[in-house]
């Protein structure tokens, strides 16, 4: 459950989670992105007040997600999982939206080399925010 390595200095999360938590990628610094976006979605955990917001820019021709910006109010693993998802989506020129809707919390957790068991259900919310952003993009098309 816990990653106990590093010359006896343990941390409750994996190195990968630590990296993404301390140096998160692709989050936006303003209230909304400074770049153009065509999809926006949120998700949250009512139990503890975690809120995640995701902005995407989808290339209408290729259906690929070209930009992914996010904001997360939540614990270390909530921040790390959103950051990880943003990298998974933007890797290799952007993920196709249909493929992106198939991303599961388990896939994000695997990329992070695991999460403490108790964190799995409450802190991985970014995939839902992304799905909502994709829905929003599709709605905007029509």
């Amino acid at each position: 459950m816990f990653d106990i390595k590093h010359n006896g200095v343990s941390w409750i999360y994996s190195d990968k989670v630590k990296k993404h938590f301390l140096n998160p990628k692709n989050f936006i610094t303003g209230k909304t992105p400074r770049w153009k976006f065509n999809g926006y979605g949120t998700s949250g955990s009512a139990a503890c007040g975690d809120v995640m917001r995701v902005w995407i820019l989808v290339d209408a021709k290729t259906q690929k997600i070209k930009r992914f910006g996010w904001k997360t109010f939540g614990c270390a693993s909530a921040i790390a999982t959103t950051s990880m998802l943003s990298e998974m989506i933007l890797n290799r020129g952007g993920m196709n939206i249909e493929k992106a809707t198939l991303v599961t919390p388990q896939m994000i957790i695997a990329k992070l080399n695991g999460l403490p068991v108790k964190k799995v259900h409450c802190s991985v919310l970014s995939d839902r925010a992304l799905k909502n952003a994709i829905e929003d993009f599709k709605k905007n098309l029509n």
Partner: protein, 404 residues
């Protein structure tokens, strides 16, 4: 800089380390370790043995008991050594419940798990438990307790100082009232009501004179007073009905069986003795530091909410909520800066629920989610708090940008 080499010191090449979690546990004082040292291997006797090394161990154990009693101003026969605060609280509640077999217990909604969960277990046996709520300032009103008293009430358990928000409960007021109430009850042929207090967090800051205060049971431990972990004690006033909760030998007046640890008893007694001697001056020093930090935080971050009564609290505790920043993330980032603090956030707890103490003082889930507790101690100096403010600002800004 402290003389203790483990404390708040620049590790070569690494950043400064600042421990601000003294309510969680304290480092064992070097004088305490030194006092304990001979009783592990050299003077290893069992206090129950009649031959010489046994008598040496017995003398150490009983001298320790005498010293503990002296510091609480009670009789040595009223002190029972245990394995810590949790065992003391269990022994107080379960031991008395075992004697009464059925009846009513009153406690509060901010008790430490040791009392809260023990009361909960008893409520599923032959006992009824009523829980007095605290006010928004984290302090229980005597009126709330009065309302709950029944004919079959036999025990009231109220912590002296809350471990999370540092508020001081009106133990003297409660005990004065119960003393009068007991006179009335006895004249009516009812049983006396006994009072237990979990004083683990109070002992470092409050001078306790058991000859003056009408408490029947008082739990204390070594972990919070720069003594050894795994050492605790229970004061049991003479004639208080209590039965052992473990079966075993006749040690500790038959109330707590098991071979005693002279080393731990000596350490606990020494730690309490040091605390008693330094308490008054240390309280003034800590309050000055704590209040300085409080003013700095309130000025720089007007949105911060301070939890627990501002006046009726121990001098070392500061508990606040930072809207828009989650506590677990904040604590982990502060750890990266070398600062050790704790949070009442649901994300940091095993049951994923926010601190029940913060919920009890009517804090919203979101604010409990954003809470942080700093507790100062004997090695805390002003430069530690200055460093904390710099690190906190960095962490606050970073998490605020990511989150809002």
């Amino acid at each position: 800089m402290s003389k203790n080499k483990h404390q708040n010191k620049k590790v070569s090449g690494a950043k400064k380390l600042v421990y601000l979690d003294y309510a969680s546990t304290t480092p064992t004082a070097s004088e305490v370790s030194a006092a304990m040292a001979p009783y592990w291997s050299e003077k290893f006797g069992n206090p129950s043995n009649l031959y010489q090394i046994g008598r040496i161990a017995f003398d150490a154990l009983e001298s320790a008991r005498f010293l503990v009693a002296k510091n609480f101003n009670c009789d040595p026969s009223e002190i029972i050594f245990t394995s810590g605060g949790t065992e003391s609280c269990n022994l107080a509640l379960r031991g008395m419940a075992k004697y009464f077999r059925a009846g009513h217990i009153i406690t509060t909604n901010v008790e430490h798990h040791a009392v809260k969960n023990t009361a909960d277990v008893l409520s599923r046996e032959h006992f009824t438990v009523s829980i007095a709520p605290v006010e928004k300032n984290g302090i229980v009103n005597l009126g709330q307790i009065k309302k709950l008293i029944r004919e079959d009430t036999f025990l009231i358990s109220v912590m002296w100082v809350n471990n999370e928000i540092g508020t001081i409960q009106p133990i003297e007021k409660i005990s004065r009232f119960i003393r009068k109430e007991n006179v009335r009850r006895i004249s009516k042929g009812l049983n006396k009501i006994y009072i237990h207090t979990d004083a683990c967090q109070a002992v470092p800051y409050i001078k306790i004179d058991l000859s003056k205060i009408g408490i029947d049971l008082l739990s204390f431990n070594g972990s919070k007073v720069y003594g050894p972990k795994g050492a605790g004690g229970l004061f049991i006033r003479q004639k208080t009905p209590i039965l052992p909760i473990m079966a075993g030998g006749e040690q500790e007046l038959g109330i707590r069986p098991g071979t005693q640890s002279p080393a731990l008893a000596v350490g606990l007694a020494k730690a309490l003795d040091i605390i008693s001697k330094k308490r008054a001056t240390e309280n003034i020093r800590l309050q000055k530091l704590r209040d300085w930090l409080w003013v700095k935080l309130a000025k720089k971050y007007p949105k911060i909410i301070f939890n627990g009564d501002k006046q009726i609290r121990i001098p070392s505790n500061i508990n606040f909520s930072v809207p828009g920043v989650e506590g677990e993330a904040m604590t982990l980032m502060l750890d990266q800066e070398g600062i050790m603090a704790s949070t009442g956030s649901a994300c940091a707890s095993n049951d994923l629920k926010p601190s029940y103490v913060l919920v009890a003082i009517s804090l919203s889930d979101e604010l409990a989610h954003s809470s942080i507790r700093l507790t100062l101690g004997k090695f805390t100096v002003k430069s530690d708090l200055e460093y904390f403010l710099i690190a906190f600002d960095k962490v606050y800004k970073k998490l605020k940008i990511i989150g809002t």
